[in-house]
Symmetry: C2
Subunit: 508 residues, 2 copies
């Protein structure tokens, strides 16, 4: 090796082993860990605080678009799930099933399940059917519509191969469920919530996404149309980050959500559902994380600033801590994104350099070191998480405090710009199958982290063409992008006419 290798806080690096890097960042940032329960995770305080901030921001956006929260049962009777044929088929293979309601001592004295239920209960994998049954009771007339309800909840899908945040047996999410008088209103709602997700990803997660429609093969089980936002991770794979479903009258028919319309006729309601989950945390990590750990976008960061007192001698101690306390109070009195700046003061008796690295790994946007010399010059020593760890600068304390909101916003914007540039670099228009294969075939078999990127290519609309690239290259159509001008061309697989380009990629 000729160039000097920069030491990194995370081993392995992204280039060395991307999937393992992901796990190590979660560990180093103290976000979550696997639990003793197969496939279920423990979300640790630092990771859960990120989720609470995601939840608060989305909840505000849902309210602004007219939605209210409610809570529906965890359990779904098996017969409810069976009411929509495609739906139950989609979830049957991954259902946690409650069959008994107590425990009693078995023949050998050990406890065994007892009190078998007449009808098994499925732990909700999603709530269309149980909420549909409830809406059927609530809706009599067009005057009862629309119903615009969201639920924050845990759901369970029994996954065989799990990965923290990205695919876990239990996860946290929100599921919006709405019912409308007309097809158009339900369609508008579906599109509106997709736009809320797109905006949230851009403005809060600093994660550029492509909003579009799923192909029929990739629809939510029972939906008429499924829309999604797709992001590019740093291994160039796609992450589906949110979905919004136009359910037509399918679930209204299954659940008998019937209302008397303005013409006095009985009609099935038109419904939608839409959701995002703790998977978003994995998306933030893989969009912004680097070889030194997590990188929190300021608008969602559990804390914005950590103050690190440099305590070299006992004689300095009191003065340094007092200066830091004042600094913390001044920062907390400042605002960012409409709320007080969130500040940590890390006065633990540990080496300052070690503490600084812990906070780098946790991804806190701004680190401020304060030692006796800084106090003498009435200044602070600042490090930004979007810059290299050594790239720090001194600044007058009052100026730093006055500029904290602008600094955080600058970091937020720089994270978005970097992710946007990365995605642009790795998104290519592809015309023919040879180029397509080359794009998705690693040039160097020793670099398994390279997954091509987003290929914008024509597609005839046929499931056969779609399946053939999936079978050959593990590539899927991520979406048919919304809002793009039509462009006639030839299907990259079969050469038949195509009305527009779609996004192909490998995906999580």
């Amino acid at each position: 090796m000729t160039a000097k290798q920069e030491q990194t806080a995370i081993t392995p690096t992204r280039a060395q082993d991307y999937p393992e890097w992901y796990q190590q960042v979660i560990r180093a940032a103290d976000l979550a860990e696997t639990s003793p329960v197969r496939g279920c995770m423990v979300i640790k305080p630092w990771g859960f605080s990120l989720w609470e901030n995601i939840r608060a921001a989305l909840d505000r956006m849902f309210r602004e678009t007219g939605h209210v929260n409610a809570y529906f049962p965890l359990f779904i009777p098996l017969s409810f799930l069976e009411k929509e044929a495609e739906h139950v088929e989609g979830f049957a293979k991954e259902c946690a099933v409650v069959t008994h309601h107590r425990l009693e001592a078995g023949p050998d004295g050990k406890l065994v399940p007892a009190g078998e239920l007449e009808e098994p209960l499925v732990v909700r994998p999603t709530s269309e059917t149980i909420i549909g049954a409830t809406y059927a009771k609530w809706v009599q007339s067009y005057r009862d519509l629309p119903l615009l309800i969201n639920q924050w909840a845990n759901v369970v899908r029994w996954e065989m191969r799990t990965r923290l945040f990205l695919r876990t047996t239990e996860f946290l999410w929100q599921e919006g469920h709405t019912a409308h008088e007309t097809k158009q209103e339900a369609w508008d709602e579906t599109v509106r919530m997709l736009e809320v997700y797109r905006k949230f990803a851009h403005d809060y997660m600093a994660m550029p996404v492509i909003a579009g429609e799923k192909t029929p093969c990739q629809r939510f089980p029972g939906a008429v149309n499924t829309f999604c936002i797709e992001a590019m991770m740093q291994d160039r794979k796609a992450l589906q980050a949110g979905t919004s479903h136009f359910l037509g009258q399918n679930f209204a028919k299954a659940s008998e959500i019937i209302f008397q319309n303005r013409a006095g006729e009985r009609e099935f309601a038109w419904t939608t559902s839409w959701g995002v989950s703790t998977r978003l945390i994995g998306g933030i990590l893989m969009t912004h994380g680097d070889d030194n750990g997590m990188v929190m976008p300021p608008r969602l960061a559990p804390s914005h600033v950590v103050i690190l007192p440099i305590l070299r001698s006992d004689s300095d101690r009191a003065a340094v801590l007092a200066y830091c306390e004042e600094l913390a109070a001044a920062l907390r009195a400042a605002q960012y994104d409409g709320a007080p700046v969130r500040v940590e003061l890390d006065a633990r008796d540990q080496n300052a350099g070690e503490k600084s690295w812990q906070w780098i790994k946790k991804g806190i946007p701004v680190r401020v070191e304060v030692g006796p010399r800084d106090i003498a010059s009435n200044s602070v020593f600042v490090g930004r998480r979007d810059k290299a760890p050594r790239e720090r600068y001194g600044q007058n304390r009052a100026e730093f405090v006055a500029g904290i909101g602008a600094l955080l916003e600058d970091i937020q914007n720089s994270l978005f710009a970097k992710a946007d540039a990365f995605r642009a670099e790795n998104t290519v228009d592809i015309g023919g199958m040879d180029d397509f294969r080359a794009f998705f075939t690693p040039a160097n078999a020793g670099k398994p982290e390279i997954h091509g990127g987003f290929a914008r290519a024509h597609w005839c609309g046929g499931a056969e063409c779609e399946n053939s690239v999936t079978n050959e290259l593990s590539v899927t159509i991520r979406c048919v992008p919304s809002g793009e001008a039509d462009e006639t061309g030839k299907c990259v697989v079969c050469g038949s006419p195509s009305p527009r380009r779609v996004i192909f990629a490998k995906a999580y």
Copy 2:
């Protein structure tokens, strides 16, 4: 009937049939309903908003006392539950048990559970054992302590007789789980969180409570000491509204939470747990609700003020609505309890009287009617939920807006004062068993709603005396009140010496 009967919005009244009145208030206030899933409830938007406000206020109090939130798995392996013998015995009879992880077509084509699990999973009835297993990994040294973590979650206890909010198979709650270096620290934490609950009940729910310790028979399964807050409902029965458990080293031993102490020795940690649940909503209803429905204490009310435009003619319409919009904006710019006043403007095309009654039933603290005459006099017509529906008053609009915070606080205080007076009236010192029997035996068998009240009586400390009153009168010892001076006396049951009075009552 000679006296003219005042018409009430809820039938039956509290005096006619208290349990049925409770159900009818929930229905009329649109708080919740039973679901198609046995024992599980649907919490409707108005009821859920109340829970969100409870959650936000408590969450702030938990943070102020140094706690952070995290999330642990929904499922508990059966072997974990079995680690603490008393604990599993306490919950074995009410466990929802997951035994299979998928569905497949059975012999008759219908779906049946398949993929049997090697070890059954219990849907958490409480999380001491799964959190204990996690803490065991996190704690190595005294430096890792204390752990001060709270979880907001759903839990399941299979109940045979359910009642909305008070006793449901699934309910929402928070559970704090802390681990400490010393017995004293864990003890202090137990007492501190009991005080948080007492203060929350008083200051937010406007519900007076007695804080005290449970008798050994009534401890949480596996706890060394259980503390509780007990409130008196309007049928004079007690409601246990929150519990805080000193767990000693019992669960640390079961889960092997072992740390190296300051002396370099291995020691079991000292743990606590504490929780309140959606049961609090039932407590608010039965503390403040009246024969016209729900009464929301302002500090927790989903909305504080509803503006009801009086729209008698189309010509008035635009002017009245504009005035109401301005009023709403002015109120929303005002503050109550550190946040903007929450305002509804109900412009639905319905009879104003009907709408007013709907909001009375929902328990909104303040109603404001605005018609053309009010506009002409620049005034509003105000009704308070803590007064009779007809007892309303006109007020200058600017004065009303300027005084809204004080008005809400006055309602909050009047609700507390009324509940406190009711409890005082129905709390009596009782010396002998004859008086005790008379107190808890309805004088009139046709008035099943009378349950005596709180009897402050001496108790020797013996389980036999405790059980005998439970068996004879369905009365339990609610708690040994904290912070009362010792007073020697004789056990109300057996006459043996007793160091202090305890609270006896019938209970939910």
